[in-house]
């Protein structure tokens, strides 16, 4: 049967709708303790426990042989990165290298994991609970619903990372700082990483995850599919984050720029994957 093609009136985005959808989703997330406690544990583990234990171990080592072995860690770094490491002692320099260069993936893995976990359930969850019907009949536009849900999925992961980043900076400066001449963290590359490189990778991941969430039939399926999608993205983001730190300012800006470009395309396509029919649980409505 030939379908009637209609071109809906393109209406401007209503930011209040986006904010309302995001805020309501976040409020529900806050009520779901079983959902956010693992996120906090993940953040604490990666940003506090692991770095603190490793840095304390390295900086407290007194054996000359062990320090010499640790100093070899510095040899795996590119020369441009190694030359920027301050400090006189081997343990201090090794601690600096660990803090600035080797923990970079943490800044990527934690937010992507959390965002994926939240985002996977967001649209299919509305459908499963039957609340998609309410949204489908509401005046909120599909783009507004999508962006609201994107924000609600992005904020927990990014917020955890920003808070974790602050705590991590405190730990690093407290433990390694005295050995390298004072507080040094965050370095300029870390600022660029956190503000320019990580956000587009999150947006890219979430646009794919929300697309999956709109298309699959159950939350369990969404979570499995999202895990499969986010794994290679984590690896890409991991390598790019590391390159960004090793390669200097220019590389960071380029990597971030490309990631923003990809994220924009992915978001644009992602918006189109959500339809009112999908909120209602009808798969083959165009």
């Amino acid at each position: 049967m030939a379908k009637t093609t209609v071109a809906p009136v393109r209406q401007p985005l209503v930011w209040m709708h986006i904010r309302t959808v995001a805020r309501t989703d976040l409020k529900q997330l806050a009520q779901a303790r079983d959902y956010w406690i693992p996120m906090v544990i993940l953040g604490v583990l990666f940003f506090v426990v692991v770095p603190a234990v490793l840095l304390l171990t390295i900086t407290q080592i007194s054996s000359v042989d062990a320090v010499a072995q640790l100093s070899q860690v510095l040899e795996i770094l590119p020369k441009s990165a190694a030359s920027q490491i301050p400090g006189d002692t081997g343990s201090g320099r090794a601690g600096y290298a660990l803090a600035v260069y080797l923990f970079a993936p943490v800044a990527v893995v934690v937010p992507i994991t959390i965002c994926t976990a939240v985002g996977a359930a967001t649209i299919v969850g509305e459908r499963e609970r039957g609340t998609g019907e309410f949204l489908a009949h509401s005046p909120a536009g599909i783009r507004e619903i999508f962006l609201g849900k994107l924000l609600a999925s992005l904020i927990p992961g990014y917020l955890t990372t920003v808070i974790g980043f602050g705590v991590y900076a405190l730990i690093v400066n407290t433990i390694v700082g005295p050995q390298v001449g004072g507080w040094f963290f965050p370095t300029k590359q870390w600022w660029v990483l956190m503000l320019w490189v990580v956000p587009p990778f999150l947006a890219l991941t979430l646009s794919l995850v929300l697309r999956l969430s709109a298309k699959v039939k159950s939350t369990a399926a969404a979570q499995q599919a999202s895990a499969l999608v986010s794994l290679p993205l984590i690896m890409v983001a991991y390598s790019q984050a590391t390159s960004s730190l090793y390669g200097g300012d220019e590389v960071s800006w380029y990597i971030g720029g490309i990631a923003w470009l990809l994220a924009t395309v992915a978001l644009w396509r992602g918006v189109r994957s959500v339809t009112r029919a999908r909120l209602l649980g009808v798969a083959d409505e165009q």
Partner: protein, 360 residues
């Protein structure tokens, strides 16, 4: 404006049927049309030849519907008749494959936001956020409908919650509400933004009879505010006494529409009476009595169709004159249930459908 008769659909030429396209203009509006942007002559909802398929399954097949302002229109039909899909197309949640839809004079597929902001919808499942409190559920709806936040909205929320008797539970998590409370909250949410059109899809689903009754009373009250109500149900008792207009759907198409009184008159134009006596022979003699159009007897009870209601005293007199003892004389008012089954039988639709947007 009659379309060609299709297999399984009621024959529009059949004089015994008041079929689709029954002129709703003949039904007197109970109050003037006050909707902005809709002329009094224009129905609030107009669907013409609307089709909607989900893969191979036809959910709506040339559906025609006209909903006049300020009345309660009840969509009746078995599960899978297309009631839910019709509601979803009215709000623009689904785009039709073909046909014309106008709600408040505009096409919801093109101007969905405008239509949806003037509609209040309650679906068969209340569609509430269990982790949020009742108040937060209402605030969410208020914000999406552009009411914003603040004391004015809070007062409106309190008013609506009070109207539906759930103000005491507003700060509790909805997950702990009973089914009846959830329905009341969903109803309160649907009127929060003072919509002109209320679309209720089996709102009493899962409720006990007492709660159902209360909900139906509340729905009836809403037309007092000037709202137009469209309610879907497969429960005939619900529609009885509530509907200003009924539309019977089957397999995604409308097979009849009109006010229950007018439709009943069309189906049973003659007066009906049931008479019980202890003498079946005297009873059978009534079949030849003047004014009796048709006669049926089961044991000692006869059902007679009369050309005029004032024939009844003559019939009673004839029976007593024949020596029969009249034990009961009962005027028979056909119910909506009688009408529903008569329509379905006449239109050849007696099987249950299985197509609906919600199940595809």
């Amino acid at each position: 404006m009659l379309s060609a008769s299709r297999g399984g659909r009621a024959d529009p030429q059949d004089p015994s049927l008041c079929l689709r396209y029954f002129s709703v203009n003949a039904i007197t509006n109970t109050r003037p049309d006050t909707l902005a942007g809709v002329s009094p002559a224009e129905p609030v909802i107009r669907l013409e030849q609307v089709t909607k398929a989900f893969g191979p399954a036809m959910a709506l097949a040339d559906l025609n519907l006209r909903v006049p302002s300020g009345q309660i229109t009840v969509l009746l039909g078995p599960n899978g008749a297309g009631k839910t899909t019709a509601i979803r197309t009215i709000t623009g949640a689904f785009n039709p494959d073909s046909g014309v839809i106008r709600v408040f004079g505009v096409d919801p597929a093109l101007q969905g936001r405008e239509v949806r902001s003037r509609c209040g919808v309650v679906s068969a499942k209340p569609s509430l956020y269990d982790r949020l409190s009742g108040r937060d559920n209402l605030r969410y709806a208020a914000e999406l409908h552009g009411l914003g936040r603040g004391s004015g909205v809070d007062a409106r929320i309190a008013h609506c919650a009070g109207r539906f008797g759930i103000d005491d539970a507003l700060d509790n998590q909805v997950g702990g509400y009973s089914t009846g409370m959830k329905t009341r909250l969903a109803l309160a949410r649907s009127v929060l933004h003072q919509p002109e059109l209320l679309l209720y899809d089996e709102p009493t689903s899962g409720l006990d009879p007492e709660s159902s009754h209360a909900v139906l009373d509340l729905i009836r009250e809403m037309t007092d505010d000037g709202s137009t109500v469209v309610m879907c149900t497969h429960l005939l008792l619900e529609a009885e006494g509530l509907a200003d207009q009924v539309v019977i759907l089957q397999d995604g198409t409308d097979i009849i529409d009109g006010s229950p009184g007018v439709l009943t008159k069309r189906f049973w134009p003659e007066a009906m009476v049931r008479i019980s006596t202890d003498d079946p022979v005297a009873l059978d003699a009534l079949a030849r009595h003047e004014g009796v159009v048709s006669y049926e007897r089961a044991d000692r009870v006869a059902t007679l169709h009369l050309d005029r209601p004032d024939r009844v005293p003559d019939l009673v007199f004839a029976l007593t004159a024949a020596g029969a003892r009249v034990t009961r004389v009962e005027p028979h008012e056909p119910t909506l249930e009688d009408l529903y089954f008569a329509v379905r039988q006449a239109s050849g639709h007696t099987r249950l459908g299985a197509v609906d947007g919600s199940t595809v």
